[in-house]
């Protein structure tokens, strides 16, 4: 079992959370416990290293008019949208203790999403080719990670109560996919606190963590 601490940052600007991630990643690389950061972001588009030119569908004028920031960042993957109602979890883990295997780490993050949704009686799956968590052909959770000194950062974005209209701005992950949310599937808003509580338990089971 590996010790893990939880920090809930609440609603926080993307860049402020990024600075906090970097601080924790440096600490974890120095031997501190693994860390899970929970947060939500005001509407923002982040561009991963694999972003294709045509992944943003809105013009820069439309984005500006609607106060949507666009930030190039150092994670894998294509464009991602974050908005209130989407639970973002930054999993800052020393992968030396979790297999030192990026493929396995990504699959384990998917398993976290699948197990969490199962706890809400939602059946979710992997896609044979696309990283993430899916409900039939719709995507509910996106994954993008960065690794430095075998310490992971970035993580997952789970649509809990996200306003799905926002996704019309982009081709999520550069794909022509439709996004969905837990609220959309349940037909009513889902308690974010309950999702967080269950996520902690699922993370601790899958990654063999002792929450401190």
């Amino acid at each position: 079992m590996r010790d893990c601490r939880i920090r809930d940052l609440g609603l926080i600007e993307y860049q402020d959370a990024y600075e906090i991630q970097k601080e924790y990643a440096a600490k974890v690389a120095d031997g501190h416990p693994d860390t899970l950061l929970f947060c939500e972001h005001p509407t923002v588009l982040t561009l991963g290293r694999m972003t294709k030119k045509d992944s943003i569908l809105w013009s820069s004028q439309e984005l500006e008019k609607n106060n949507v920031q666009v930030l190039p960042i150092d994670r894998g993957g294509d464009v991602t949208l974050h908005a209130p109602g989407q639970l973002v979890v930054y999993s800052i883990f020393d992968l030396n203790y979790h297999g030192k295997n990026l493929h396995e780490y990504l699959r384990n993050l998917e398993q976290v999403g699948i197990a969490l949704l199962d706890g809400f009686d939602i059946v979710a799956n992997r896609h044979p080719e696309q990283t993430g968590v899916w409900i039939k052909h719709k995507k509910i959770m996106s994954i993008g990670i960065g690794v430095r000194k075998w310490v992971s950062y970035h993580g997952i974005g789970l649509n809990v109560n996200t306003d799905l209209d926002y996704f019309s701005m982009i081709r999520p992950c550069g794909l022509n996919v439709t996004m969905t949310s837990m609220a959309k599937i349940k037909g009513e808003p889902v308690s974010m606190d309950e999702v967080k509580e269950k996520l902690i338990s699922v993370f601790s089971q899958i990654f063999e963590l002792k929450i401190i």
Partner: protein, 76 residues
């Protein structure tokens, strides 16, 4: 120090793309400094220096793909 190779990143990952170099030929580097950021489908991975030295040569340009085990740079 010596050859910096593209490390094993996990099963099924045979290649990665060089996203950006944090150093250039002639730069002095210290152990654990980030040398190069690699990118696979959903992950970025920073390769650190394994000791102090000087960047002698860079073999894979930004934007180019390389196989696991191939030499990315030489540090002396």
């Amino acid at each position: 120090m010596g050859k910096i190779t593209l490390p094993e990143l996990g099963e099924g990952i045979t290649k990665a793309t060089v996203a950006c170099w944090h150093v250039k030929t002639g730069d002095a580097v210290k152990k654990d400094d980030d040398l190069v950021e690699l990118v696979t489908d959903k992950a970025t991975f920073n390769v650190p220096a394994d000791g102090d030295g000087t960047v002698k040569e860079i073999y894979v340009e930004e934007g180019k793909e390389a196989d696991v085990g191939s030499v990315l740079a030489v540090i002396e």
